[in-house]
């Protein structure tokens, strides 16, 4: 078992706080969606709105079950710039913007606990 690296304080990046996690940072505002896809009220009747809402609920519930199935499993994250890391999945936030993971294997060592920005991830996979 590889020893853990201590938490490194890297040189300050472009934004002084949170390195992109801060909801007011320019990166967050640029990359993170502020609205979710929905039909506008005008031009659609209420039956369709109900259908749409039901569809949204079913899709979301299935997705939450996926996250539940992923908990405490080893997950491979394929990120930009061909970076591949593996970690034990802990939790996600409600907007699926951040993942809390443990035992993150990185090229510089194993981070005991880490937060991954979902905007940096292209795909992730795990075995059931």
């Amino acid at each position: 078992m590889r020893p853990h690296v201590s938490v490194l304080r890297l040189p300050r990046g472009p934004d002084p706080n949170g390195r992109g996690f801060d909801p007011n940072s320019p990166r967050f505002i640029a990359l993170c969606p502020t609205t979710i896809s929905a039909s506008t009220e005008t031009g659609t009747d209420s039956v369709q709105m109900r259908e749409e809402q039901r569809a949204r609920s079913v899709l979301r519930e299935s997705f939450l079950r996926t996250l539940i199935a992923m908990t405490n499993k080893q997950v491979q994250f394929h990120m930009y710039e061909r970076v591949k890391v593996e970690a034990k999945f802990g939790a996600s936030d409600i907007d699926v913007l951040n993942f809390q993971v443990s035992e993150l294997h990185t090229p510089i060592g194993v981070q005991k606990e880490a937060l991954l920005r979902c905007q940096d991830v292209i795909s992730y996979s795990f075995d059931l």
């Binding site: 969606p33 929905a38 299935s62 996926t66 394929h78 979902c118 292209i122």
Partner: protein, 171 residues
């Protein structure tokens, strides 16, 4: 590039239970059966079944990285069932409305047979005005502020010889 994220939920639904090829950023390509599309992040959940029935592999492509989704194959009842089953946690029970009614009836008769005053109040069974049993009428569904009565009724519910043992959801 944003077209995938801007689809409406009903349009995303059309991809569920289909085998697709997803092209993502940095030339990533992934195949699999679509289990769901998250309406919040537009992430696509793909399932790949192993040849010899080993554990399936799940891959999620984040919504913002999706460039193109191509449908390869339509699914059917069987594939829908397989997808549903793998994400149901072990021990989860799904009772249809008919079965729930039968369970209520069986429990009510059993309680009456044991001379416990029980009446139906809407969806719930009300026992001696101090305990209620809600769907699906198992021992864990009893609710009361009186511990002694709760314990006695719970053991009675569990000892009901008529109740069918809980089965996992069929697909």
């Amino acid at each position: 590039m944003d077209t995938w994220r801007q689809l409406k939920p009903l349009e995303w639904c059309k991809y569920v239970n289909k085998e697709v090829k997803v092209t993502a950023h940095e030339k990533q390509q992934h195949h699999g059966w679509v289990f769901t599309v998250d309406p919040v992040s537009a992430s696509i959940v793909l399932v790949t079944f192993q040849e010899k029935g080993g554990t399936p592999m799940v891959r999620v492509v984040t919504g913002h990285a999706v460039q193109e989704v191509e449908v390869l194959q339509e699914g059917n009842e069987e594939t829908a069932g397989r997808l549903r089953v793998i994400f149901t946690p072990p021990g989860a029970h799904a009772f249809g409305p008919e079965e729930v009614r039968h369970r209520k009836e069986r429990l009510r008769l059993w309680l009456e047979k044991n001379r416990i005053p029980v009446e139906e109040k809407g969806e719930m069974l009300c026992v001696a005005n101090v305990l209620t049993v809600s769907a699906p009428y198992g021992a864990e569904d009893c609710s009361s502020s009186n511990e002694i009565i709760l314990a006695r009724v719970q053991s009675l519910v569990e000892s009901n010889p008529d109740s069918t043992p809980d089965q996992p959801a069929n697909s």
